[in-house]
Symmetry: C2
Subunit: 283 residues, 2 copies
């Protein structure tokens, strides 16, 4: 029998809602609970076909849960963890989150929850937010990064994410934040910079856009509040990456100003080779 008897998800947005849908498919015997601050969430949850008990009391939602997953903005997690710690938790209770930063989350939650908490970061999402955009296959073929502290056993959490279709990588919380600054937070900010640079001075140029612009700037459509929180929590690593990007942009401007076609060809060939080093996308 699966150890995931009762699963509580905190925060029914895109990630929490998608998790609920995926858990319904893959763990049909588990009792599913959703904690949402607003009562109005219950209707949206039902409308997505999620069969779960909806609770607004954070302590009651955790009571006797075997698996707890925090899907709220990272800045709300410490207060939730403090409430969860007050609940009647079974001995095998496993707690995780899906936040985009791990250093600050793990440093805040581990003292409260101990080794029963292990940070997760499934690399899946969308520029769209809200439970309306949730889908059961969101985690299929995504990488899920786990950031256990010393003494934590990840085997059960690995099995859980693998059941949802994820490939697992383990690393320290700080290593996570460095890598994710590079491949998620940096591209997000660069998409915003590109969008503003392209259109602030000539909004009418939007009439000419093609797929290249759409793709390059897609994530700039993400929620400003959510991304302000992520940037705050991973500020030093993000600033480091953006300074690197600024230096590389200066390098490119120098090449173009000379102009040096051969150097430009080498610059673009370096980008192409790095781009082609990506693992093949899932079909």
């Amino acid at each position: 029998m699966s150890p995931e008897r009762t699963i509580t998800i905190y925060g029914p947005g895109l990630l929490g809602g998608s998790l609920a849908l995926a858990i319904q498919q893959r763990f049909p015997d588990a009792e599913l609970r959703l904690w949402a601050r607003r009562d109005s969430a219950a209707e949206a949850i039902r409308a997505k076909g999620i069969k779960a008990r909806c609770l607004a009391d954070a302590v009651a939602a955790a009571s006797r849960a075997s698996l707890i997953i925090l899907c709220t903005p990272v800045e709300t997690m410490p207060a939730l963890a403090a409430q969860i710690a007050q609940a009647d938790l079974p001995a095998d209770c496993l707690i995780t989150d899906v936040g985009s930063v791990k250093g600050s989350v793990v440093r805040a939650l581990s003292p409260i929850l101990g080794t029963r908490f292990i940070g997760s970061h499934p690399m899946a999402g969308s520029e769209k937010a809200g439970i309306e955009t949730a889908r059961a296959d969101l985690f299929q073929n995504a990488v899920c990064l786990l950031t256990p502290i010393e003494g934590a056993d990840t085997s059960r959490l690995r099995t859980f994410w693998q059941a949802l279709g994820c490939r697992i990588l383990e690393m320290t919380p700080d290593e996570h934040d460095q890598k994710v600054a590079r491949i998620s937070h940096l591209p997000h900010m660069m998409a915003a910079v590109t969008t503003i640079a392209a259109l602030r001075g000539d909004p009418a140029a939007v009439a000419c856009v093609a797929n290249g612009f759409r793709d390059t700037t897609r994530v700039a459509g993400g929620d400003p509040g959510l991304w302000t929180g992520i940037a705050r929590e991973n500020r030093p690593a993000l600033i480091g990456c953006l300074r690197e990007a600024s230096a590389i942009l200066t390098e490119l401007l120098e090449i173009l100003s000379k102009p040096d076609d051969e150097a430009l060809r080498r610059f673009l060939a370096e980008a192409k080779a790095l781009r082609e080093s990506l693992p093949a996308a899932a079909p």
Copy 2:
């Protein structure tokens, strides 16, 4: 009867090959010719199911053609135009191109070909190159920018591109180059900068990538030689856009360094609003 009796395409790559496939569907009565420098191209053309006469002689390929479309790299177009001008062209011969820059192309080709030449730029393509990647629906729902010189009648060219599924915008060659620098050449270079900034210092971070990184950097996989040519031909406009991007990146770094969460939220909200001003993507 359609005026497009005999159509010659110069350069059977992604764009030329896709044009050939689309023309076969939409102008089944037209005689189709493809000019390619290499004899080996004929086999790849046949393998794509394109029924066309393949010619390696640029003058013979133009002879008695009612519509000529240049799909070669922009730097090769002036020499081709000089050869086409020597051919036996019918009075109603219409000549266009699909190059990504228009100022330099129109300035070079108009003195040779007169008002029978009108620049086109269908905003369609891919980071992949070569006739193997050609597809008949490449132009479906794309914007096609026309850049007629004074005295040129665009009605027939509009009808042609509309038959292939394009929406038409007309502007001057210089206006084209400014707008396209913003919404195509800038994003291309920013995708390259983002890719290098993310991965040059830690190539192993590639193991963590998700769809956000894939989309933001997709066009960085484009052909370095082709894009070096495009950057050369549209250098002043591109440098202007990249300097703007550099200033905006500095603005972002200052916001993050303070840090000023409210200013960051405004910055990201500006990007989101501009991103959402894009016309809806074709289904």
